[in-house]
C-alpha cells in the first residue's frame, strides 16, 4: 500500500502560497508536480461540456493562427510589462491599464448620419 504523508497545512493555506508565487516559481512547481497540468473532472462540471468544447476549438484556431508556436509569458506586453506579469495582475488593475491605453473615448468622435434605410435593432 502506498504511504501517504499527511499535509502539515490546509489546502487553503497551500492555495494562498501558490497565489503568492511568481510565474517562474509556478512553472517550476508544474515541472515538479506534472499532475497539476491534468484537467480534473471538476473543470468539466464548472465550465460545462459546451464551454470546454469552445475552449478546445478556439485553442486549435489560435494555434493555427500562430503557426503552432506558443506565446512566451516573458514576451514584452504594453506598459513595460511582460505578458506573464500582465496576466497575473488582478482584474481591476488590468482594467485600469486598458483605460490608460485607450487614448480615445466615444464622446470625442464625430457623430455619423445613418442611411435613411438603416436597420434598427428591433
Amino acid at each position: 500500500m502506498e504511504a501517504r504523508l499527511a499535509l502539515p497545512v490546509s489546502i487553503e493555506q497551500v492555495a494562498v502560497v501558490i497565489k503568492q508565487m511568481s510565474q517562474s516559481d509556478r512553472e517550476r512547481l508544474l515541472d515538479l508536480v506534472p499532475e497539476l497540468r491534468q484537467r480534473f473532472p471538476r473543470t468539466s462540471r464548472r465550465y460545462g461540456e459546451q464551454g470546454l468544447a469552445t475552449v478546445e476549438r478556439m485553442r486549435g484556431e489560435v494555434s493555427r493562427a500562430l503557426g503552432g508556436q506558443l506565446l512566451s509569458l516573458s514576451e514584452p506586453f504594453l506598459g513595460d510589462l511582460t505578458l506573464g506579469q500582465y496576466l497575473e495582475l488582478p482584474d481591476a488593475e488590468r482594467g485600469r491599464l486598458w483605460d490608460a491605453w485607450v487614448e480615445i473615448e466615444p464622446e470625442e468622435l464625430a457623430e455619423l448620419d445613418v442611411h435613411p434605410d438603416a436597420l434598427p435593432a428591433r
Binding site: R46, Y47, Q50, G51, T54, V55, R57, M58, R59, E61, V62, S63, A65, L66, G67, L70, L71, S72, L73, E75, P76, F77, L78, L83, G84, L87, R94, G95, W98, D99, W101, V102, E103, I104, E105, P106, E107, L109, A110, E111, L112, D113, V114, H115, P116, D117, A118, L119, P120, A121, R122
Partner: protein, 192 residues
Amino acid sequence: MRCLLDKAAARRIMEALFKLASAQELTVEEIHALGLYERAGFPGMRLFIVPPTDNVLKRLAQVAAYAPLIAFFRPRVEVILPARYFKRWARRLRDHGFAREDAAVLALGTFGTSRDASMLGAHYVATFDQPMINNWRVQQASIKKRLAAMRPHLQPTYRAAALPEVERPEHIPEESLSGIQRLHEETANYEV
C-alpha cells in the same frame, strides 16, 4: 442579431486568447466571453467592439508577437461608431445613475452604427458589470419613457431607435436562423 461588447467583455476575450496562446488555464468568465466570441462566426450574428477597445487592439497589433493574434481576433468583430444623437442620449443616461463610460456604451447600443452607417443600434450589450445590468433593469421603465419622449424630436430615420438588452455574455441567447429571418421581415415592414 447585433451584440455590443463593453470594454471589459472584449478585454476578457483578448485575455482568453492570450492564455490559449501561452497554454494558460482560463477563468470561467473568460470561457463565457470566448463562447460569445466564437458565435460571432455564425450566420446572422454580428459582434461589435467600442472605439476605445479598437484603439488598444491597434497598439497591441504594433507589437510583433501579438500581431497574429490581433489579426485572428479582428475579422469576427466590427467597431460601433457614434451616430447622431449619441451624445445627447449618453447625457440623459447619466441622469439615470450610469457612470460616463457605462452611459457611453449603453448609448452606442441605441445610437451606434457600423462603418457603412447601414444600421442603428445593437440588440444586446454584453457586460460582466452586474451593477450596470441591475441598474438598467431597475430603470428600464423610466429610460423607455425618456426615449419615447425624445423620439418625436428626432429626424425620421432615428425614430426607430430602440433600447438594447443588457446581459452577461453567457446569457445572450442564441438567435435561430428563423429568428434572424423574422427580424429582417419585421424591419422591412417597419414604417416611420
